[in-house]
């Protein structure tokens, strides 16, 4: 680990000793009053400053003055105080404190602070690379949003990402995982792709014999994300009962796999996403209030592409990085900048892929219009299908798709299987095999 330069401002010798013990390997100065601290801050360039607020028997929070001096030099400043007074905590943050801890857990807190500080530093160093390669944007507001999200990456608090489809919610979730320094995997699941039973086995796993076809134990996504990140997209599509089960698993960091009588443990960090307004979902009784309160400690909103038009050509440049370059006529450029982009970055990417393959490089308005006209005729986005197939395996994905189509057809045919079978031109055998797979049908 990089050797950091640290100032510890603490009047109590025993507390000072304990903090120093936790800072072994770093260059540390100590000060026990305001004037000595101020002198040290002026003379040195510290990375971090740990500050106790009351310095001396009759002192009146002179640590706050130390904090001001430290922030003038842009030092990462952490208050470790015996005072839990709200007014003092608020004042410390308004003076620029980066963290505020109550005394009592120094042995744990100091390690956490160092980790967070190094994360902040890394984000600052990587800033340019992040916005030019990992989450491409030139929009200042979006950059600020991403930096805020990444700065909270090292906390364990659940994050909720809101924003329309295709705005980069999964990309951001992966980026948060990268900067979280969690050793485990990044595991993602799109809740809308599963029915009630399937999502339970997908999330919690199952034990051998839990149901027909469960020939061996299988870990669920929660277990796969142990020490890592679980990203749940379209969380509002989960049933209220599943939300309740998941809430319990989040709070207890343990759960029962389907059919098991022994709990499994998993320390995962939850990032959830939805393209709908969560408050509307609550109002419509599709989202539990207690579940929502637990999963949205930090909320991030990603703007649609039409509200960050400066990103359009930055994204095009990135999508064509190792491919043939495209030239857009003035009319085509105007079209791109004024188009609504209902599917956002995903739609732009799909357009560029099409143009790279199907144009001569000179893009005029006619080829754009032709692309959007033909696109409307495509029932499902091939990119989405590829991503689902990668996640579940092509056969499973196609079975699931067939099952959904079959259910829809049944619904439209007054639940009469004979009509559905005729309409979809599928065999009775296929029908029962899908029922067996997705509904444990034993007929």
């Amino acid at each position: 680990m990089k050797k950091l330069s640290i100032l510890v401002v603490e009047d109590d010798k025993l507390s000072q000793k304990i903090i120093l013990k936790n800072l072994d390997g770093h260059k540390v100065d100590t000060a026990d009053n305001y004037s000595k601290s101020s002198e040290y801050i002026k003379k040195n360039n510290y990375d971090i400053c740990f500050i106790d607020l009351v310095l001396g028997k009759n002192d009146n929070f002179s640590g706050l003055r130390v904090l001001e001096e430290a922030k003038k030099k842009n030092i990462y400043s952490v208050i470790i105080s015996g005072s839990g007074n709200d007014e003092i905590i608020g004042k410390s943050y308004s003076l620029g404190a980066d963290d505020y801890y109550l005394k009592g857990n120094e042995n744990k807190v100091i390690t956490e602070v160092i980790k967070r500080f190094l994360n902040y530093k890394k984000i600052e160093t990587d800033r340019e690379k992040i916005f030019s390669e990992e989450f491409i944007t030139k929009d200042e507001e979006t950059k600020k949003t991403i930096i805020t999200a990444l700065k909270s990456a090292s906390h364990d608090a659940p994050i909720m990402i809101l924003g329309p489809t295709g705005t980069g919610k999964t990309t951001l979730a992966k980026l948060i995982h990268k900067y979280s320094h969690r050793d485990g995997n990044f595991v993602d699941i799109n809740c809308s792709a599963y029915n009630e039973e399937l999502i339970e086995t997908e999330l919690f796993g199952y034990v051998k014999g839990a149901f027909t076809g469960a020939s061996e134990n299988k870990n669920g996504k929660l277990k796969e994300a142990d020490n890592g990140t679980l990203f749940m997209d379209e969380i509002g599509t989960m049933s209220l009962e599943m939300q309740k089960k998941l809430l319990k698993a989040i709070e207890e960091k343990s759960f029962y796999p389907v059919g098991a009588n022994k709990k499994e443990k998993s320390d995962f960090r939850l990032i959830s996403a939805t393209l709908e307004d969560p408050l509307k979902l609550i109002k419509e009784n599709q989202l539990r209030t207690d579940f929502y309160s637990r999963i949205n400690t930090i909320t991030i909103y990603l703007k649609p592409l039409r509200q960050r038009i400066n990103d359009i050509f930055a994204l095009i440049e990135s999508f064509t990085k190792d491919k043939r370059k495209l030239y857009f006529s003035k009319e085509a450029t105007n079209f791109l900048l004024t188009y609504d982009w209902p599917e956002n970055v995903r739609e732009l990417k799909s357009m560029i892929d099409y143009l790279v393959l199907n144009s001569k490089g000179n893009i005029d308005i006619d080829i754009l219009k032709y692309f959007f006209k033909t696109k409307q005729k495509q029932p499902i986005n091939i990119e989405d299908m590829l991503s689902h197939s990668k996640e579940k395996g092509l056969d499973n994905f196609l079975d699931e798709l067939a099952y959904k189509i079959m259910k829809k057809s049944l619904e439209l045919n007054e639940n009469k299987p004979t009509k559905m079978l005729k309409e979809l031109k599928i065999s009775t055998r296929r029908y029962y095999s899908l029922l067996k797979k997705f509904e444990n049908y034993e007929g």
Binding site: D12, K13, I18, V54, K57, G104
Partner: protein, 56 residues
Amino acid sequence: MKDSVEKILHTIKSKSIALKNAAEIFKDLDEKERKEMIDLMKSTSKELADLIKELE
């Protein structure tokens, strides 16, 4: 008066926490560090006793 009692209570709390933290890491210290820590724990305990007397 109320303000000075609060200051004393604040210091008592801080020093008690320091003693608790010291006890938590004591096992992990080497012999030399333990001696230093014991001396600091003793002086902190004495300071605590003096502060408690001030409350009387």
